[in-house]
Structures are given as C-alpha cells and as structure tokens.
Symmetry: D2
C-alpha cells in the first residue's frame, strides 16, 4: 500500500515537522504532504500517543513510511527546516517561543492572528505570552498577503471562518464598493472545525439531523475578521458574524449581506472580485446566477465566490465556500509554505473536489 512518495522527492527537500499531528488539521497536512514532491515529514508530535505509529491514531495513513509519533518534549529539530503547529489555542505561543530560530513556523492556531495585544487579551482572557513574536508574525491569507508571507519566519495561518469572509470582502472594501458599517456574515460550518477533542457538543447524536447558531455576537473569529477588514478599509469597523453548526464533516459556506456603495451593484462587485482573482489558482468567481456549494470544494484548496443582486435596493448578497480543513486550514498552510520556499503555489494541492 506504499505509494513510494519518497521516491518522488526532489533534492531540495523541505524537511518538515508537524506539532500536534493527531488532530484533524494534522491528518489533513499529512494527507496532502505525502504527495508534495518537495516535502519530507520527519517529525510528528502527539503527546498522548507518543511512541505509537501514525496508524494508531489514523489507520488510513499507515504504511507510508512516516516516522512514529513523539511527545512535544522529545521532538528534535536539528535537521528540520519548517514546522506546522497544530496545537491548541493558548498553549501554542509558548511552544513557538521556545522553538529554535532556524525554523520557519506556520501556525494553524489562533495564537498569532491578533496584532492588537489588547484585543488578544479581551477575546482570550489572558495577556499574550510572546508579544515579540507576535510583532513579527504575518497573517497568511495567501492571496492577500503573498509578499509578506514570502519574507515571514512565522506565518499565522488564518482561521476557517475568516478565510471564507475575507477573500470576498477585502477586495471590495479596498475598492470602496461596500459600506463598512453594516456587514453581516452568516456562516454555516461542518463539524470537523470543532476539532477532534471528545466533547458532548460534537457527538454524532448531538449534531446530526439539525442545525443551530452558536457564539452569537461573541465568537473569537470575529476580531480576526474585523482586524483584516479594517486594514482593507483603512479604518476600524464592526461586523455581524453569526456562525452555525450543521451536520457535515467538511465545509464552510458564508452568506454575506452588504450595502453597496453609491454606483456599485452586484455586477460591479462581481467584476471587482473576478479581476482581483483572475490569476489565482484557488479562488474562482462563479458566473451570475450560479450558487456555490460546499460540495464543489470538498477536499480541495479552492474558494468559490458568487455575487447576487439583493431585492432590497442598494444591497448585494455574496456567497463563498471553502473546505474548512483545506483552504480554511491545512491546504492554505501548505500554500503558504510554497510561497515561503518559492515553489509554484499549487504544488501538492492539485486535487479536485471529491463529489459526491
């Protein structure tokens, strides 16, 4: 069952570690990196499964010649070039602070995403523990921060909800086509976004056959979205962000309600986005009348965006879809690594969506 991935590796291999490999974003990194022609996975940590082979936690990833899991304390980085951090929010900052300086770091937690340390404290309940590192981090929404990512040592990989909201909204705010004070983001997410921790709220019988909103008016992805929108708008702003949990494994669909600026209608917005993403491999603006579905991006690194004229005068509706584990997490992390190392951005990310 070995797919001889190693045989394909080029001489310029990026020697990689995955800290926190036993969760869903870790598994997704492994799935994709196994077929990345320039990557070799040399270290994988998982404290509770230290000493075990990867198939002890992910049977489908056995037989690929991966190293055994080790505890975080036992990880060695001498021959590692880059680590992906898939550790819990709050503990990541201290781990990253102790990593050797020669390592590039792509962090999939929320620990380095808020640049205003006061905001961090407000939303996470404690002072940031690595403020110097924070100052040097880059918010890695690749399509919108490519040049900064290229020079970064520490990339704060965006959250899944923010990715789905920012890709359409940032270009529109930069173009001044959307009112900044009335943005409403109604998001629907699959369950893998809640992680692999054993929680009653994520049990099959609690989640299937139903939907509910959660974190209404108070979700930690809110300040992250607002920070990046403010950067685009050139001023502070507040949005409505209302996430919903629904019974699917993967996928986020955000329905975004905006008031358009004078002179701008849905067609104008669609043109702006189409122009902005014309040369992008992973972002596609769908034609008028087409409604993107999460099924169209399942397992792939793509983001699809549709724009609709509202019947309410002066308003438009934007729908964006991503796979939360790929473009919303591990796929974008690899895309960022490709940028850092000057590789074609699609390397290792060419897979089509899995449908049905």
């Amino acid at each position: 069952m070995t797919t001889k991935a190693k045989a394909k590796k080029s001489t310029n291999t990026i020697r990689t570690g995955i800290l926190g490999a036993s969760g869903y974003t870790g598994a997704e990194l492994i799935r994709l990196l196994l077929h990345h022609p320039s990557v070799d996975i040399r270290v994988m940590t998982a404290d509770r499964s230290a000493g075990k082979p990867i198939d002890a936690v992910f049977p489908h990833l056995g037989g690929r010649g991966l190293p055994n899991l080790v505890s975080l304390d036992d990880a060695r980085y001498d021959d590692i070039d880059l680590v992906y951090c898939c550790l819990p929010h709050g503990t990541t900052q201290e781990v990253v602070a102790k990593l050797p300086k020669h390592l590039k770091v792509i962090d999939l937690s929320a620990d380095f995403r808020l640049f205003d340390l006061g905001d961090y404290e407000t939303w996470y309940g404690h002072a940031h523990r690595a403020p110097a590192l924070q100052a040097g981090a880059v918010y890695g929404l690749t399509e919108l921060a490519r040049e900064a990512v290229r020079r970064a040592r520490l990339v704060a990989n965006p959250g899944c909800y923010p990715t789905s909201a920012l890709l359409p909204l940032v270009p529109l705010l930069e173009a001044g086509q959307v009112d900044t004070d009335t943005i409403i983001v109604d998001s629907k997410s699959g369950v893998s976004g809640a992680g692999r921790a054993a929680k009653e709220a994520s049990l099959f019988a609690e989640v299937s056959e139903g939907i509910h909103a959660y974190g209404v008016a108070w979700h930690r992805h809110m300040p992250e979205i607002e920070q990046e929108l403010a950067r685009a708008a050139g001023r502070k702003l507040t949005i409505n962000f209302t996430p919903h949990l629904m019974p699917m494994n993967r996928g986020i669909l955000s329905t975004i309600y905006v008031r358009t600026a004078k002179g701008a209608d849905a067609n104008a917005l669609r043109k702006t986005l189409a122009a902005r993403f014309a040369d992008e491999a992973f972002v596609r603006v769908v034609p008028e009348g087409v409604a993107p579905a999460t099924r169209h991006v399942r397992g792939s690194n793509h983001c699809l965006i549709g724009v609709f004229q509202d019947r309410l005068p002066g308003r438009a509706i934007i729908v964006s879809v991503i796979d939360n584990l790929v473009k919303g997490a591990s796929g974008q992390a690899i895309q960022n690594m490709n940028v850092v190392y000057g590789l074609p951005e699609t390397t290792g990310l060419e897979q089509e969506a899995l449908f049905p």
Copy 2:
C-alpha cells in the same frame, strides 16, 4: 400492530379526507391524525397508487385500519366534513374549485396564499384560476389569525419558511420595534421541504455532506412573507430572504437580522415576543443567551424563538426554529382544524420533540 385508534374517537368525529396522501405532508397528517381523538380519516387520494393500501407507499403506516388509496376522480365526499389538500402548487386551485361546498378545506399548497392576484401571476407565471375562492381564503398562521381561521371555509396553510419568519417578525412590526426596510432572513432548511418527487437535486448523494443557497433573491415564499409583514407594518415592504438546503430530514432555522427602532434593543424585542406568545402552547421565547436548535422541535408543532443583541449598534439577531413538516405544514394544518371546530388547539399535537 393496530393501536385501536378508532376506539378512542368521540361521537363528534370530524370525517376527514386527505387529497395527495402519498407525499411527506400527507404522511405527516396521517401520523398525527391517527391519534387525534376527534378525527376519522375516510378518504385518501394518490393517483399513481390508486387502489393500493397505504403501506404500499408508507410501510410504517400499515395495519391501522386506514382506507385504501383512491384516485382524485374517484374520491367521494358525501360523508366527509373536511379535506386537507396536499396537492402540487398550481393544480390545487382547480381541484378546490370543484369540491362540494359543504366541505371545509385546509390547503397546504401555495395556491391560496397570495391575495394580490397580480403578485400570484408574477411569481407563478399564470393567472389565478379560482379568484373568487382566493378572496374568501384565510391565511392560516394560527397564532396570528385565530379569529379569521375560526370562521373560514378555506384555510391557506402557511409555507414552512414564512411560518418561521412571520411568527417572530409580525409582532415586532406591529409593535413598531423593527425597521421595515432592512429585514434579512437567512433560512436553512432540511430536505423534506422539497417534497417526495424524484428529482436529481434531492438525491442523497447530491444533498448530504454539504450546503448551498438556492433561489437567491427569487423564491416563491418571498412574496408570501412580504404580504403578511406588510399587513403587520401597515405598508408595503421588501425583504431579503435567502434559503439554503442542508442535509437533514426535517427542520428550518431562520436567522433574522433587523435594525431596531429607536429605543428598542434585543431585550425589548424579546419582551414583546414573550408577552405576545405567553399564552400560546406552541410558541416559546427562549431565555437570553439560549440558541434554539431545530433538534429541539423535531417532530413537534413547536416554534422556538431566541433574540440576541448584535454587536452592530442598533441591530438585533432573531433565531427561530420549527419542524417544517409539523408547524411548517401538517401540524399547523391540524392546529387550524382544531380552531375551526372549536377543539383545544393542542389536540393531537401533544408529542414532544424526538431527540436524538
């Protein structure tokens, strides 16, 4: 397996027919009416299954002493008091026009819901074929139209989406607490709302593991919602209504974004709704901070409503949930029948939600 439902029937039995008994709303009527102490199901039509027993189309309803299915043309109404119409949109109006005048009619199609015949033509593509009947119909959102329903011969049973939107919005518009020009209704529906017709778009493999918006800015439930909101507001109005299809059998969750009137905040809205529905058996306003879930109303006739303060100043978020086949269709139809016949409104509708 007979549950001897008939033995329980009182002497004042309502002799009932179900036109179009082989679809999901038909099945739901049967499920509930079998245990209604004052109802006897005497006629059930299903053209393609005429002559067959009900278990030919719904095995779980066999063995209850129900009459065989007949074609619509063969249905006899001499000893029938009331019929439920579960026929397709567009054909219902002609069927109802030909029914004997002694029959009470509760129509679950959309045919008699729009009172402006021009609106009907706009949204359904042809002139209404029973305008006189339309003029005498009553829009049967029970809690908001009880007195009119009591005197009605023809009840236009509300659509599922409109029920979820109107229950919270009508009282708020009547109270003048919500701006009428910026209402956004983002709805998420289970698949049974699409009916039992064999359509590619409703196949398991097309629907599971994903979500998409449909009918964006052009869904036939939109004018129905606007009509009733206009009645409450005392003026014409336009809303945003964006439905989404998601992988669950039953349930609608509507997330409603409103601008509050001067002096009104989420607490004020919650109070208005709590007061309005205080004596209602089926509508419950949940406490501050509680997020209603469709799982909490699955299989029951309840509607739960939550109100949240938005972080956007001067705005609130309302979440309402119903089971689309019960309060959104067959349950409300029975509730309306109870009103018509002066029975306690909860009769036959006492079942708790099925969770998990």
Copy 3:
C-alpha cells in the same frame, strides 16, 4: 409550551423516579412518560447537573413542570413507587442494592441481565456485587416473559441488540425450526446506542459517512443473547454476533442467517412468527418480499420482522428492526412497567414512527 400533561393523570398515579436522567435513555423515558396518563415523574438524578432544571441538559424538555435534577445521593424515595435505572454498567448493581425495598425497579443497564455469575465475571471483569438481587431479577423481553415481569420487583430490561435478535429467534428455537449451532447475527446500529458520554469514537466526524464493525467476536451483548437462546433451545449454544456502527441516530437492523431444520423453510418460519406475535401490539411480521427498514420504527416501540428464503439450500434470512432507544431501551421499559401495574401494554407508547 406546557402541555398540561399532569391534568390528564388518573388518580392511580405511578410515582416514578429516573436515575441517570441526563443520558439518551433518560431523555427518551421523559419524552414518553410525559404523556403517559398514569405516570408522574417526581425524581430525576444527574450527578454532574444536580440542582439544574432539565432544560439545562435537554432544552426540548423544558417547560413541562418537571422537577429539577438532583444528585443520586440526594434522591428521596418515600413517595416513589418505581424507579428506572439508566446508570452506567458496573455501578448500577450497587445502587440498586441500596434502594428501599418498597420500590419496583426497572434497570436499563446490563448489570442484571446475566444469570450465570461466572458469565458475568468473564464478560465484565469483576465478580457481581449483588448476587442475591440477580437471583430474583427477571429478564424483561416483554413479549417473551410477560408473566414473570408481572410478578417481578427487579426487571432487567434487555439490551438493544439482544431485543432485535431474540424476538425472532426465540420462537423459532422453541419450535425447533432452526439449527442451534450455526446462527449468525449481523447487526447494524445507530450511534445513540453508544450513549451520551463524550468519546472520540462517537464524534460526528468519526462516525458520519462510513461504517465499521466493532467488538467482532467479543461484544457484551453476545452472552446475553446466548443465555436467552439457550433457554429457548433447552441447551447451551454459541452464536456469531457481529455489530456494526453506522451514521444514524436511532435504529438497529439485524440480519440473521440460519440453517433451517428438516422440513422447515422460510414460509414455515414466517408462519411460526406470525402466529406467535399475532396478538402483540408491538411486533409485526411483514409479508413475504417486504424488507423492514429502521425508518419504519423510528421513535416507535415496534419491531418489524421479515423472513426470506435463502438461495443457499436449507437456509433462511431473517431481518428485524427496532428503534434502539424505544423497543431497545426506554419504550420496552415502559411496556414492562405497564405489565407490572396491569395497565394496557400500549399505554403511553401509541406514537407512530417518525418518517421521514
């Protein structure tokens, strides 16, 4: 939202307690008992939620006038007639041993189901802690043990898998129509059977979109099935029992492969079962060619059984379906209570299946 269930209670109320009310079988008992005309729920325990109202753990059960949850230690039984035990396996026996003797007990755990104490020790890893109570317990598969249940103080309510296997097999073994040495039971179960405990293996993302076998050749329901089959056959026997976990909330389907005795074919088996269950309210043998589906019993206390001639000569295939939380747990527990108190067995259990 109160349905005024209490108003319907007769004067001969059974005053009831539910020990372990915060799990799925507890919730199911409450759902059904709220509309049982002779039952009043007076005590509900849940140690981790002691002091809270029931809607803190089950929002859909709020507003019905139920007592607050208490810890097991704080439960008082002076005015209680009967308790349902929904506590974990292993701890139940000690709890029951300490209960006042005036209480009737219906235990939904596995603690009192194995009458051979050696078997118990083998499968549960420790000596039984209430052997005297065990000796007086009755295995309460209602249709097969009605007289014993009537006289019981302690009813060991059968497991969900055993219920689905025993209902068809016991009558066939008693009739000598099935070979005792080659019985294969291939069962498929929904996830609620795993309980509400937060376990990685029960997470939505681990369970949806897939199926796997578990406990192959070593599942604790196996000795329970064998014990009751042995009683029917009049001799010790061993079976194959292979459970599978699949993505649905409720339901067990058992496909049972048997070698028929000389002279017996599928028709003969079907006749035996049809005759045996002819007067039963909850067990129905479906006609030749009909395949029972778990959807046909979802939320109801029914068991459907189909019998098919195998193409392998001298063999037959039996398919049985139940809802694991109703006939496989709480529904059968109420049925047993009805027997104990001489009530009609269907009391409180008349609900039809919820489909779709």
Copy 4:
C-alpha cells in the same frame, strides 16, 4: 482555477473518451484522469446535456479545459485510443458493438460481466445482444486477472459489491481454505452506488437516518460473484449475498462469514491473503484485531481486509472495505487502463483517503 493539467501530459498520451460522463462514475473518472500524466480526455458524452460544458452537470469540474459534452451519436473516435463506458446496463452492449475496432474499451456497466449467456438472460431478462464481444471480454478484477487484462480489447470492469467480496474470497478458495457451500456475504453500501438517476428510493429523505436490506436473495451482483468464485474453486457454487443501503455517499463494507476447511483458522486465512497481496499497491491485509472502516478508503483506490476468528468453532469472519466509486468502479477502471498500456498501476491513483 485551471490547474493546467495538460501541461504535464507526456508525449505518449492516451487519448480517451468517456461515454456517459454525467453520472457519478463519469465524474469520478474525470476527477482522477485530470491528474493522470498520460491521459487526455477528448470526448465526453451525455445525451441530455449535449452541447453543454461539463460544469453544467458538475460545477466542481469546470475550468479545467475539458471538451463540451456531446450526444453519443455525435461522438467521433478517429483520434481516440480508449473509451470508458459508463452507460446503463442493457444498452451498453449495443453501443460497444458499434464502436470502431481500433478502440480499447473499459466497460463499467454489468453488460459484459457474465460469461454464461444463459445466466445473463436469467438475470437481465433478455438474450445478450453482443455474444461475440462477450466471448472476448475479460473480467477485470485487476489483482486477480492482470495478465488477461493486459491483452484485452474489452475489459468488463467488476461491480462494486463483487470487488469487495472477490478480493478476499478468491485467494482463499484457490487455497482450499474455505468451504464453498456456506459462504455468506452481508454487504453495506453507500447511496452513490445507486447512480445519479432521479429515483424516489434514492432521495435524501428516504435514505438518511436509516438502513434496510434490498434485493434479498435476488441481486444481479450475485451471479457475478458466483461466477468468479466458481472459477477459483473449480466448481459451481451458490452463495448468500445480502446487500443493505445505508446513509453515506461512498463506501462498501462486506462482512463475510465462512466455514474454514480442516486445519485452517483465521490466522491461516490472514496469512494466505497477506502473502497473496504482499506486492499489491492497493490491497492491504490489516493486522489481527484491526477492523477496517470505509472511512479509511474514502476517495482512494484501496481495499482493506481484516480476518477474525469466529466464536463459532470452525468459522471465520472476513471484513473488506472499498470506495464503491473508486476501487469499485472508476479507480479500478483506470488501474485496468494502466495495465493495458503498461504503465505503473498506481499512476493517477496515488490519492490518500479523505478523512474526515
């Protein structure tokens, strides 16, 4: 969004057509072939969508430079080397009979799988219409028929259920380790196996939240399995095959119950299978005690096989899992193409399973 797949194509391109590209196996072929380095898709037929681009039927496959769909009658084969036939059973044989002789054909229908024309007539209700072609066809279960496939012009690609049953059973029958007269195959399948045709039985609301058996003792995959097992055993045989439909998109799990030959136990069977598949890229025998899950092969071309000792003396339980659309259809079809053209068998099929 184009991934410029064409740029990667080698000079020895296999020019390919897909007949019946608008169904699920068609979509799956496209998904995989887009990244096959030696394949160029030049013709795709879909009668009802003739003239349309592929995104009209599969939005997620748009933007890859694929040709528009054409009707079967309009397809031209001058510059085509090989066609995949994804047409309905019964019509395929006439289509293939008319194809130019220079074409290699891999047929995913059941039309060329039964070599006994009498069997074909029995199970499909009409005489075979291309008996000469049938005589020259090769049953393409790759691992078991590699040499024959290499020389074939027409490959009959195996059915999904047969693939899951034959991979473990054929080697065991060849080794004489399994009794031939008592084989029981209990299979559980996802819904995509029923195809994309709009049928009531495949609707989300009919399939989700439940399971049922179908085609009990009479399913068309039965003679296909028996034919290949007979070939392995060297004698005619009859099996039990009982398929079940369950709510997942992809996946088949077959639980196979066998009587072991004298001297053979589960360990011996496992060893036989492990040895037989030791050099295979796509078939893996899992260690003792591990239960394969369909999630472990979702989207991949793998088959996992586990063997368990039964508690019934002299019996074993075998569990095999595949993705019905990959190893059970399109993936195996590509694997067969690779064999025909002498390419490494894993070419284009390296993807890992998608979990969760």
